[in-house]
Every structure is written in structure tokens, then in C-alpha cells.
Amino acid sequence: MTNGRTSRFDWIIILLFLALVVIGWLNIYSASYVDNVESFFDLGNIYTKQLLFIVLSLFLIVFILAIDVKFYERFGSIVYIVSLVSLLGLFIFGNSINGATSWYSFGAFGLQPSEFAKAATALAVAKYVSDIQTNMSLFKDQLRAFLIIALPALFIIPQPDPGSALIYAAFVFPLYREGMHYVYLLLGFFAAALFIGTLAFGVYWIAGLVLFIGIGLFLFNRKRRPNKLKYLTIVFACVAFAFSVNYIFNNVFEQRHRDRFNIVLGKEVDTKGIGYNTNQSEIAIGSGGWLGKGWTEGTQTKGNFVPEQHTDYIFSTVGEEWGFLGSILVVVLFLALIIRVLVLSERQKSQFSRVYGYSVAAILFFHFFVNIGMVSGIFPTVGIPLPFFSYGGSGLWGFTILLFIFVRLDSRNYYYT
């Protein structure tokens, strides 16, 4: 029965996906249309191209849902290896667009393998972690898992596309879910806190604060005999880290990187150079008010004040033309999608599906967090797209594949009920 088969797919996810894609396209249309264009169906138009990508992605979905679940489980590693090869191939055959060699070009269209590598890596991680012989509480297995995650990231960084590489940090969440010690998360968290603290307040304040807290804890820890060496090591490591951050920031980072951080930390007010994007994006969002200026009525959008508005900065169009209520609607749609994927992941009977689902949720969450954080000016400028929203065939298809493999995996649970 066809009805029986289709009802096994999670229609909530599918509807959320469709809603995001449609709203995203409306905003791409607004951000890219020009008054005096000849034809709607001219493939020179960005919005027409995106419409084509969306239609093609629907075929892709049917294809993904038609494939047997066993295929994803068996051939996850092969897909992963193919994807690594495609990333490596860029160094030889790749095309440069906007200074990054991230593309294979086929005539007017380009393919960005890093967008597909996420799904492949998620499959590989799921396969490795769900292997009976793998125990995520063992250091040896953790190291292997990290290697699986780090390889594609290492290939992407020199393209250079550090933003896309950053996304691979999202895999720490499925690993943690599957038994990795929380100390890794804590380490990451403290490293980030020390990093931002050092940049914001200066290395000496942070070093002083670390010493103060260390000594305080040591003195008030009277229950057992405190291990002086352990305290000393931790405090020393923290201070050394702070100093190294200071050194790296000032001597290894390029000025543009320093600028990006300084602007978000409020240390520099710069509306002409690097701060221009964020400033114009904030103006666009802020000028939307409660209800926005109306679809295709955004003056910031029409005047092209926000660079890359149809790609990474698409959310600023939402903010300007649909206002606070429209922006909140989009935020809620994303939250609902991520939470739905999380909830379903927890329900999975196979560990493979659960790890994969968790990876999907974490990747979507990272994109959502970094992108909207950047566009609304609370996160440094990192160029990554907003899933299903931003213009781009590779991006849309990459996320579609990522999401619908999970929809397919999830549907299997119903075979056994």
C-alpha cells in the first residue's frame, strides 16, 4: 500500500523542510530580482536558478527515500571515501570563486563538494560509532572517531574555507551522546571562554583571574588533601593558553580575522571596511520593525546594501521585509526542525540511525547558530549558509541529502512495529 509506505515518513520534518525552502526562495527572489528583467524563466536570474535547484531537490528526495536503508549502513564508508577524494580533487581540478577553491564547475553550474561531505561524514561517524567493537569511552576509539571528523575538515581549511570546516566541530555532540567523556566538552568550553576572555579583557586580567580562582579553590578545598601538582598544572595550562591565544591572535592571525573578532567584542567601531557587512545587515534587520516593510519593499535589500544578501546574509532580508514577527517565525521553524530531528533520533531503535540523526541535528544547529548569530551581529563573520534558505544548489542539495537520509532511516522503525 502506497499510503502505508508514505505514512511511515515523518511528515512534520517534510513540511518544515518545505516551509523553509519556500520562505527561503521568496526572500532570495526579493533579494535578487531587478525591476527591468526580461523574463521570469531566464536562467540568468538567481531566483529562477534557485527554483530549478528546489525542483531538482524534490527529485533527489524521491530518490533518497526510494533507496534501501541497508545501502546507507553498508556503503557509508565508501560514500565517505568518495567524498574525501572529491575534496582532495579540488586541489587539482578545483575552480576558484571568491578566492576559495571549493568548486568543480560544469558549464554555468558549480558543485561544492564540502556541502556534500557533511552528510558523508555523518554516515561514516554513525557507522563507526555504531560498530559493535567501538566503545566511545575508550581513548583509542575516540581518537579514531576524531580522525574521521577531522580529515574532511583538514581538507576544507586550506581551500580556504575555515567557516565550513568549523561546522565539523558539531560532531562533538553525537560523540558525547554516545558515551564520550564530558571533559572534552568542558575543555572545549573553557578554551572558548579563555579565548574570548583574553581577547575581550586582555591576557593579564585573565591570567590574574585564573590564578585567583585557582588559589581560591585550593584554599577552600579542605575535604581531602588537595593535590598541589594537579592545581598547579591546570592553572599553568590555563595561563599558558591565554598567553598563547594572545600570541596567536596578534602574530599568527591576519588583520581581517582580528577585525572580525574585535567588531563583535565591541572593541572597534568600523562601518566602512570589514564591519560594513554586519553594520548594514543590522540596519536592514533593525529597520524592519514589528511587521517589516513588506515583501520586495525592503530598501536595504533593493539597494544591495548588504553584501552576499541572497547567500549568507539572506536572513537580513527576512528581518527587513517580514519584521520581528517574520524573523521569529523563521527562528521557530528552525528550532522546530532541529528539535524534531533530535526527538526522533532519541526514538531510533538502531544506534546507527540515532548517531546519524544526532549528527544531522548538530550540523543544522551549528549552521543556524553561526549564521543568524553573524547576520544579527553577535557572532564574528564566518561565511556559512543558512540551511534550506541561502541561495546555492550544492548547499540546498547537501542539506536535503543530509536531512532526507535521516527521514529514510527513521521510516525503517515502522517495519518492526
Binding site: I283, W290, T299, Q300, G303, F305, P307, F324, V331, L342
Partner: protein, 622 residues
């Protein structure tokens, strides 16, 4: 915990974003304004400025197009600099300097390369300019003066400064505004209303079409033409008569209050304040603190009026009933009022009644009348205030209310003035202390405009209309009602007849007997006003000012005139002659006494004006 960590982070992120969006979109309202200033620009469509005509519909001021070569630096491509420079006729180094400045100003905004091309240059260049990317010719409208006179009347236009932009939101940087004279007084009528176009901009400030399909755009309203009461022929003649002299002429049509001529000397050609040389010429005239060509002496020069004031003293005496037309007052060459030095008089027959007193300009006669006028009251304070009230009704001691932007009040002292001066009540003062007022000296100050105005009031036997330059706006009788209303003096009409007779006799057998014009009955009064300046901190007497008032014809007056020649010595020496020539020119349209005309045209007082600045001792009244 392992199950919920990511879920919690997702929810926290949702909350943080909601808060951030609320702050940006709802709480902080400054983004709306920033977006507006960002996203569209306002373009103005300037209407033609109105033309200015004289009373006989002679065109005085029109407009001329002006063409500037402009550049948008970033659009310049493949420029053959040598060829282009030879086309513009400027040296290559200069061109390159200009281009550097243009790029520093803004790579994307227009900058002037060559301002104000001649029509020939424009015709030649407009064909070829298309070849050069990034360069174009901008058309602007400038004033085109058809005459070389009346600069003080017409005023000039120039770019508004920051203070004006702040005060008046109509104006934007770079716009023109009338700055003096009629251009300022009737700025709103002349300029019209500029049209507004809202143009949607992109991030490079380039136009990308109309904002909201032009829903907020407005059309320009053309400037209105203005007809002045000035008689261009008379005005030009007055300026010619004043060559090499300083002072002013104000001529008024008594029945209407229309100003026929408003001359200040030295004058300048209004064309000097248009075009490429504008700012150079303006600075030169602005900083000429000696001859002050930008200072309108007719409106703003405050001088002691001298003897013409005696007509007013007589009128007030008659109104206050302290003298009649028959009483004769004797004069022994001076009037002794108990001061250190008596008020001197010149040689004439004695005793004299009113008509003779005016005709012979007897100081003793008017000192007597003035003293009686003040002493009629119990206290000199009341006397002075009553006298002051009469004079105020002639428009003296206050703004005349004319429609030019500049003007002075002059000075008619009142009781407060003397109380403060003599520190009353600690010290008392009496009429003799102010006796010089009787003959238009002492504290009394008037502008030539005020002198012409009281002359018009005498000619009308007791009323005047505020002097004005506006005759009509846009060929309709739409002038302000205050320029139609009659202002009555406090003097009864019948008292004017003997005074007018006296002024008439000035020409018959009085101080201006040699200036008669055959066929025209002129009434007038000479004046010789003492004046002082400070040289190196020492108050020094200078050669007397030559003043004159007149109106003609005696019955049905058509022109009332006041002439003031700085340091021209006695009244009929220069001012009387100029007034006489002006009256003949206006009424007859031609000059019969060409020798007199030649004499005045060639008269030169520059040597007199150089004396106080020469730094060497000099003699006066020679």
C-alpha cells in the same frame, strides 16, 4: 544529561536570537532612520528664478544657463589626457591636480573640473564630451544682469551657508539663495518651490529608479516675476551723477510711496557677483572698509540731517501753537541760549517770519521755535517726548518699514535718552541743552531713506505710504497691504501750506535760488551738516556733509527726493545740484542745463575722502 545537552543549547540559542531580534527590530528604533538615509536620496528639481523688471517693464535681471564640466572619477576610462586637456584648454598639470582632488573628494560623486564655461565653449565641448567616459557637462542657472546699475537694489544670490541651512530647513547645501536687496526680500517669490524626487539608491550610491514609484515626488513651482518701482533711467542717472562721490539718493513717488531711485555711492556692477570671478570680487568689495561699496548708504547710512530738519521744526511749532506764520523773529548772526558758545547763523536779512525763515534757513528762528515747543510743557522731559511723538509720526527714529532687508532706525532722542545722558535726576537738563536738534544737528540722525520719506509726507500734506520697491508680483496687484495704507502724521494738513511755501521760496530767493528749473515748481531745502570722525583717538571735524531734500511739482507732487553727499560742504554745492538734475530728468525726461550736468558728472570728491586717511594735517570746508 547526555540526552538533553544539545536540546538545551538549541532552546537557549532560540531565546538569545529572539532577544537579539527584539532589540534590533523593536527596542532600538534608530535603525529605521539609518536605513532611510541609506537607501534613498532626495533629488531636487530647481525651477527658474523669477525675472526682475523696472517700473516701465524694462528687464533688469533674467537667468542664464551656466555649464560646468564635471567628472565622476571611478567612471573615467581610457582617458587620452593630452587630447582632453587641449580640448578643455587647461594645462596638463592643473588637470591632474584637479583629478587628484576629485578622487580625494569621492571616487563616486561628481566633482567640478572646469566651472562656468562660456556659451561658445559649451557649444564646442558638448559634442565631444560623449567620447570621454566619466565626464559630463552640468547645466546650472545663473543670474543674467541686463543692466550695470542697481546692484544695491537687486542684491545678489549665492550658495547658502551652514547657518542658513540650520535655520531654514528649505535649503540644502549647495543651493542658492538671495543674499541682499530684492533677491533676499522677495526670495520666496523669486525662487519658487523646488520639486522633490526620491531616488532609490544602491550601496554605491547609484540611482536604481524612483522610490515607491514616485509616490512622494513633487513638481517644482516656477519662481514669480517681480516688477520694481525703480525707474531704471533715473536710477542709472543717479549712479552716474555720484561717480567719484560718496553718499546716496532716495527718490519716492509721494502718492504711492514707491521708490523711484535708490542710489548708493560708490556703486558696483552687479555682474561682478556672478560667474568665475564672483568670490574674488566679493572679497575685494567686502574688505574695502574705506569706500564700503556693499554698504547701502541710502538705507543704512545714519547722518545728521542738517537744515532740511527745520521744516519739521516749523511744522511741530505750528501744531503746538507756539508760533504763527506772521510772527517775525530777529537774528543777530547767532542765537544765544546761555551756552559757552552761541548757535551761529549766517548772514541774511532780519527779522524773518516763517516763510522767510525757511527760505533763508535762519538758525535763530528755528532755535526759538524749538525752544518754545519744548518749554511749552512743565518739564523738558514732557516737551522732548511730545516733540519725539510728532517726529515718530513721520517715520523717524524707527524703521521706515520699507521692503529692503537692510535699514537703520536713525535717532530721534526722547526724555529717557537725555535723562540717561545727563544722569537725571542727579543733574537736571533743560531745552537749551538740546538746542542743536532744532536745526537737524545735535543728537538727531536720519538715513537718506527717512529724509526722503518725511519729504514725501510734507509733499502729501500730512501722510505717507511706507516706501517700498515692490510694484507687483507676477503682474498681479498682490503687494502687501502695508504698502497701500496711508500713515497720517500728527500735524494738521493746513499747517503744511506755509512750510511748503517756505520750501518753494528756497528756490525763488533762498539758498537754492540758482538751481531753479524753468517750468517746474520745486520745493526744497538745503542742508549743511557738521560731522566728526576719530583719527588716532582724536575727535576731528571733517568737511560738512552736503544734504538736500526736495519735491516737485509744488502742486500735485510726483517726486520727493533726498540727496546726501558725504563731505560735500554746503547743501547747494553738490546735493542741491544732484537733486535738481534728478528732478528734471524724472519729470522732463531730459536735461536742459547741460553745463550743470557736466559739472556734476565731472565733480570729484576723492581728494576730500583721502584726507582723514592721509595721516597728515588737513584743512576742511575749502
Amino acid at each position: 544529561m547526555r540526552k538533553y545537552l544539545l536540546l538545551i543549547l538549541v532552546l537557549i540559542t532560540g531565546l538569545v536570537f529572539t532577544g537579539r531580534l527584539f532589540y534590533l527590530q523593536v527596542y532600538n528604533t534608530s535603525f529605521q532612520a539609518r536605513s532611510e538615509s541609506n537607501a534613498y536620496k532626495v533629488m531636487y528639481d530647481y525651477p527658474q528664478r523669477g525675472y526682475i523688471f523696472d517700473r516701465n517693464q524694462k528687464l533688469l535681471v533674467s537667468n542664464q544657463p551656466s555649464y560646468d564640466v564635471m567628472v565622476i572619477p571611478r567612471e573615467v576610462k581610457n582617458l587620452d589626457t593630452l587630447e582632453f586637456c587641449s580640448l578643455l584648454k587647461i594645462p596638463r598639470e592643473q588637470f591632474e591636480k584637479i583629478m587628484v582632488k576629485a578622487r580625494v573628494y569621492s571616487p563616486r560623486l561628481p566633482y567640478t573640473v572646469v566651472p562656468q564655461l562660456t556659451k561658445e565653449e559649451y557649444a564646442y565641448l558638448s559634442e565631444k564630451m560623449r567620447k570621454y567616459d566619466g565626464f559630463y557637462i552640468r547645466k546650472q542657472s545663473l543670474r543674467d544682469y541686463q543692466v550695470a546699475h542697481s546692484a544695491n537694489v537687486l542684491g545678489y544670490i549665492r550658495e547658502v551657508n551652514e547657518a542658513i541651512v540650520k535655520k531654514n530647513p528649505y535649503y540644502q547645501d549647495g543651493e542658492n539663495m538671495g543674499m541682499q536687496g530684492i533677491e533676499l526680500a522677495y526670495e520666496e517669490e523669486l525662487r519658487g518651490v523646488k520639486g522633490v524626487k526620491y531616488i532609490q539608491k544602491d550601496r554605491f550610491n547609484r540611482d536604481i529608479g524612483k522610490y515607491k514609484e514616485g509616490a512622494f515626488d513633487t513638481l517644482p513651482q516656477r519662481g514669480k516675476d517681480i516688477t520694481l518701482s525703480i525707474d531704471a533711467v533715473l536710477q542709472k542717472y543717479g549712479e552716474e551723477l555720484f561717480i567719484n562721490k560718496r553718499g546716496g539718493i532716495v527718490a519716492i513717488e509721494p502718492k504711492t510711496g514707491e521708490i523711484l531711485a535708490l542710489v548708493t555711492a560708490p556703486h558696483y556692477d552687479p555682474k561682478l557677483l556672478v560667474g568665475r570671478e564672483r568670490s574674488k570680487n566679493f572679497s575685494r568689495m567686502f574688505y574695502d572698509s574705506i569706500s564700503r561699496p556693499l554698504f547701502d548708504r541710502g538705507l543704512s547710512g545714519e547722518y545728521p540731517p542738517g537744515s532740511p530738519f527745520k521744516a519739521l521744526t516749523a511744522l511741530i511749532g505750528l501744531q503746538e501753537n507756539v508760533i504763527n506764520t506772521q510772527e517775525r523773529i530777529s537774528c543777530r548772526g547767532s542765537y544765544n541760549y546761555g551756552g559757552k558758545k552761541p548757535l551761529g547763523c549766517h548772514h541774511h536779512k532780519s527779522p524773518l517770519a516763517m516763510v522767510g525763515g525757511i527760505a533763508q534757513s535762519c538758525n535763530s528762528y528755528f532755535a526759538t521755535v524749538y525752544r518754545r515747543t519744548i518749554e511749552k510743557f512743565d518739564t523738558p522731559q514732557e516737551g522732548i517726548d511730545s516733540w519725539n511723538t510728532h517726529l515718530n509720526s513721520f517715520g523717524l527714529g524707527q524703521y521706515t518699514g520699507h521692503d529692503m532687508p537692510s535699514g537703520r532706525k536713525g535717532l530721534i532722542p526722547d526724555a529717557n535718552y537725555y535723562n540717561r545722558y545727563y544722569r537725571y535726576p542727579k543733574y537736571k537738563w533743560y531745552a537749551p541743552a538740546t538746542i542743536s536738534n532744532s536745526i537737524g544737528q545735535g543728537e538727531v540722525l536720519m538715513t537718506p531713506m527717512q529724509m526722503a520719506n518725511f519729504t514725501a509726507a510734507i509733499a502729501n500734506k500730512g501722510w505717507y505710504i511706507k516706501p517700498h520697491l515692490i510694484k507687483d508680483i507676477d503682474k498681479q496687484d498682490s503687494i502687501p497691504s502695508e504698502y497701500i495704507k496711508k500713515n497720517y502724521t500728527t500735524i494738521k494738513p493746513e499747517f503744511f501750506d506755509p512750510v511748503i511755501q517756505g520750501l518753494f521760496d528756497v528756490y525763488n530767493d533762498g539758498t537754492a535760488a540758482n538751481l531753479k528749473i524753468s517750468g517746474i515748481d520745486i520745493c526744497g531745502k538745503t542742508g549743511t551738516a557738521e560731522n566728526y570722525t576719530r583719527i588716532d583717538g582724536v575727535t576731528t571735524k571733517l568737511t560738512d556733509h552736503s544734504t538736500f531734500i526736495a519735491f516737485a511739482p509744488k502742486d500735485n507732487p510726483q517726486i520727493a527726493i533726498a540727496v546726501f553727499v558725504e563731505n560735500g560742504y554746503w547743501g547747494s554745492r553738490w546735493a542741491g545740484k544732484i537733486a535738481s538734475l534728478m528732478i528734471e530728468k524724472y519729470i522732463k525726461g531730459e536735461i536742459t542745463r547741460t553745463d550743470l550736468e557736466t559739472y556734476v558728472l565731472n565733480g570729484n570728491l576723492e581728494a576730500e575722502y583721502a584726507k582723514p586717511h592721509s595721516g597728515i594735517p588737513f584743512l576742511i570746508n575749502q
